[in-house]
């Protein structure tokens, strides 16, 4: 049950110390924060040390708390085009063949490998490696995104910061369909 974030050591008990609580089974879930993931006040630091690229990021935010609607958070970020602060940036993710959409918070990731791993875990599929020349050729699935101009691009084509500030939504296409995109 131990993982890189050392959940056990930072776990907040659900209740007063000494009270009898059944141990909640902790199954590591990327991108989901439970009470046990919250570091207690004293040690909550704003330094965002990067753990390894493959681990979920160090950002300590509880899902849905404080209870502020997303459209309020978005407006506090300033102009829509600016991306600053740590108030979350949810984009929709669709997967070809899946009947429902999901939403992820792009602010939570620091790099393409982190994002792709999270997508693979969320949708139980393999995306494979990106190469500049070949795109995701050879993978079952290829991640694409719609940018601010309305164009559909292959995830990985532009530097990460540029991607974060221009990505409006994600679509994970079947590998065969994405071939055209990779050859721009």
């Amino acid at each position: 049950m131990e993982n890189d974030l050392n959940l056990k050591a930072t776990e907040l008990r659900l209740g007063l110390p000494g009270s009898d609580e059944p141990e909640r089974q902790m199954i590591p879930r990327p991108n989901k924060r439970t009470l046990s993931d919250i570091v207690s006040e004293g040690s909550r630091s704003t330094t965002e040390e990067d753990h390894q690229d493959t681990a979920p990021p160090a950002k300590l935010q509880i899902v849905g708390w404080p209870p502020v609607r997303s459209y309020r958070k978005n407006c506090l970020q300033g102009k829509k085009d600016e991306v600053e602060g740590g108030t979350g940036m949810y984009v929709k993710v669709s997967v070809d063949g899946a009947p429902y959409l999901r939403k992820i918070d792009l602010k939570v990731y620091r790099s393409y490998p982190q994002l792709l791993l999270a997508l693979e875990n969320m949708f139980k599929l393999t995306i494979g490696a990106y190469s500049e020349r070949e795109g995701y050729n050879g993978s079952d699935y290829a991640p694409t995104y719609e940018d601010r101009d309305g164009d559909w691009m292959l995830v990985g084509d532009v530097p990460w910061e540029m991607f974060i500030s221009s990505c409006k939504r994600l679509r994970i296409m079947k590998g065969s369909e994405a071939r055209g995109l990779g050859c721009v």
Binding site: L16, L76, K79, T87
Partner: protein
């Protein structure tokens, strides 16, 4: 043998009497008096309210109320607002539209909250209901401006189009041009949630110009400040107005134009919008401030001195939404200037910052509670609280009907005594005897729930997070709160015992939400088995609950009463526990 009473009113007389009874609750009561009243009432009910779209099927509603003109439906549970309900959970309106389109074409009004509305649904509405008048979509999603274009093009008698807090796919702002040039019946238009980087201003202006009955107009952020004057010039009769972005280079001609146009709006009672506001342009609205009863500054990132100046010009304010930039000092001014204040909402400007960025504390709320005798509804985000303050607030303002307090850091204790805030919230429920809605926060033990169960007899909705010690807490609420309809709980150590002991209570409520608590899968199955009139939904993105031990807690649980039985539109991560004691997969 009984002698029957010889006199009874003819049906038409009863129908006429019933027509004065509008409230849903009263209508339901009327229909329970006797069979003949039930029959008469169902034929003349014109407005139907369905608080949970899965509690009943469209066919059942249509069968019972054959001649309704207006329907209001609610879908997802409230915690969906904070991303706790995964996308795809449900709440689709299409089946309702499809049934109603078939049953009768004279439907006039549709009001939806937290439902998934597709373009297909909007197109079907546009095509099916010839006298369609009112469409209110509140916190809905799933549609684009294409769907709106269909409504605009076909609904010749449309009076109200209100998209509040919706997520709309902005494909094109040109949907507005789909209102034909002959169309003039618009009374209310709220497009504040639309993005549209390019807005079709000329179409908007033409629309406003020809709809002389327009009373409510709420624009979106994309409408620049210098366009507002042109729009308002043609609509001096507006009662409610929402600006777009309220910033521009400071130019005297733009300013005086704006001020002049606001002066001519003699009926204006409500203002909103104010995205990106700069203080220089605020005085342009001073001419209308004395008549304002409602002001929404919750997007206005201006500081306390400017907010204070503004608020001091509005003595008749009844409703204020504002960011915590107003600070305690601003709330003190509010308390002394706005004696008619009934509702206050203070939102956090920096909800995720670890340290306070503004000087807004419990003192602001105390000041307003002491100073505003009509205050009855509060939503307040702050970073510290004390029992002393809460007791003062409760004693001075026993007329609270809605009290929602969010102390930003979970489990924050009384900052003066370091004790839990049980006593403070206990005072709120004890003194505010008409309290209908309560949201708790801060450090709370089972004791606060004991107070709530004992005193909160009129409480209809309770929101709980990171609180309590044991099942006893949940038991106090379920066994004590007689009027409880909606209970939503997250991250509390409540488990099986209280839930199973109070299973019958759940049938008297609309719904119960529990996420990140300690309710086991076994208990969910048992509940589903024993209570056929409850839908017990387990929502778990980790995979099927029977792939883990039975005593493992479920991730999320949503229980609601229903006469429609289990639904069939569930995504793969939702299971309904039912009598077959197996899992029903959709």
């Amino acid at each position: 043998m009984h002698k029957k009473m010889a006199f009874s009113f003819p049906d038409e007389v009863l129908e006429h009497v019933f027509s004065f009874i509008q409230s849903d609750k009263d209508r339901n009561a009327v229909s329970m008096v006797c069979k003949s009243w039930y029959e008469i009432e169902r034929w003349c009910r014109r407005k139907v309210f369905v608080g949970n779209c899965y509690a009943v099927s469209p066919r059942m509603v249509i069968r019972r109320f054959p001649e309704f003109r207006s329907i209001e439906l609610k879908g997802k549970p409230h915690f969906a607002d904070f991303n706790l309900v995964p996308d795809g959970w449900g709440g689709y309106v299409f089946p309702w539209i499809a049934e109603m389109a078939g049953a009768y074409p004279w439907l006039e009004e549709i009001r939806l909250k937290r439902m998934v509305v597709t373009d297909e649904s909007l197109e079907l509405i546009a095509k099916s209901f010839k006298n369609f008048k009112v469409l209110v979509l509140s916190s809905c999603e799933g549609f684009s401006t294409d769907g709106l274009a269909a409504i605009a093009a076909s609904c010749k008698n449309l009076k109200e189009l209100d998209l509040r807090d919706c997520e709309v796919d902005d494909l094109s702002a040109h949907w507005l041009s789909h209102f034909p040039e002959t169309y003039t019946s618009l009374v209310s238009l709220n497009i504040s949630c639309l993005g549209s980087d390019e807005a079709s201003f000329s179409a908007l202006e033409r629309l406003v110009r020809r709809c002389t009955n327009l009373k409510t107009l709420r624009l979106n952020r994309a409408v620049p400040l210098d366009k507002i004057a042109n729009i308002l010039r043609h609509a001096p009769q507006l009662v409610e107005f929402g600006t777009g972005t309220y910033t521009a280079d400071v130019r005297p001609d733009v300013y005086s134009d704006l001020a002049g146009v606001f002066s001519s709006c003699k009926e204006l009672k409500s203002l909103s919008g104010f995205w990106d506001v700069i203080p220089d342009y605020l005085p342009a609205i001073y001419p209308v401030c004395s008549k304002l009863t409602s002001l929404n500054l919750s997007y206005a990132t201006i500081q306390s001195p400017d907010l204070i100046k503004l608020v001091s010009h509005c003595p008749n304010l009844q409703r204020l939404l504002v960011l915590d930039y107003i600070e305690d000092s601003g709330l003190e001014v509010l308390a002394s200037s706005c004696k008619d204040l009934q509702e206050l909402r203070v939102f956090p400007s920096d909800p995720f910052g670890a340290e306070p960025n503004v000087s807004l504390t419990e003192q602001g709320l105390v000041a307003v509670s002491l100073g505003c005798p009509k205050l009855q509804s509060v939503l307040y985000f702050c970073r510290r609280m004390s029992n002393e303050a809460l007791v003062t607030i409760a004693r001075s303002r026993p007329n609270f009907t809605r009290f929602r307090l969010c102390i930003i850091e979970p489990k924050t204790a009384d900052y003066l005594t370091l004790e839990p805030l049980d006593v403070g919230f206990g005072a709120i429920v004890q003194y505010c005897k008409d309290l209908r809605r309560l949201s708790l926060s801060g450090l709370l033990t089972d004791r606060v729930f004991e107070y709530i169960g004992t005193y909160a007899k009129k409480l209809e909705m309770l929101s709980v997070a990171f609180a309590g010690d044991s099942d006893l807490g949940l038991h106090h609420v379920l066994s004590g709160c007689e009027s409880l309809r909606k209970l939503e709980i997250r991250d509390c150590p409540f488990g099986d015992k209280a839930l199973l002991a109070n299973a019958a209570k759940l049938e008297t409520m609309r719904s119960l939400w529990m996420s990140s608590c300690a309710v086991s899968f076994a208990a969910c199955k048992l509940l589903g088995q024993k209570m056929p009139r409850l839908n017990v939904e387990v929502i778990d993105e980790r995979g099927p609950p029977d792939s883990r031990p039975e005593n493992c807690p479920v991730d999320k649980l949503y229980i609601y009463r229903s006469i429609a039985g289990p639904r069939f539109d569930m995504p793969p991560f939702v299971w309904t526990m039912d009598e077959d004691s197996g899992l029903r997969l959709s």
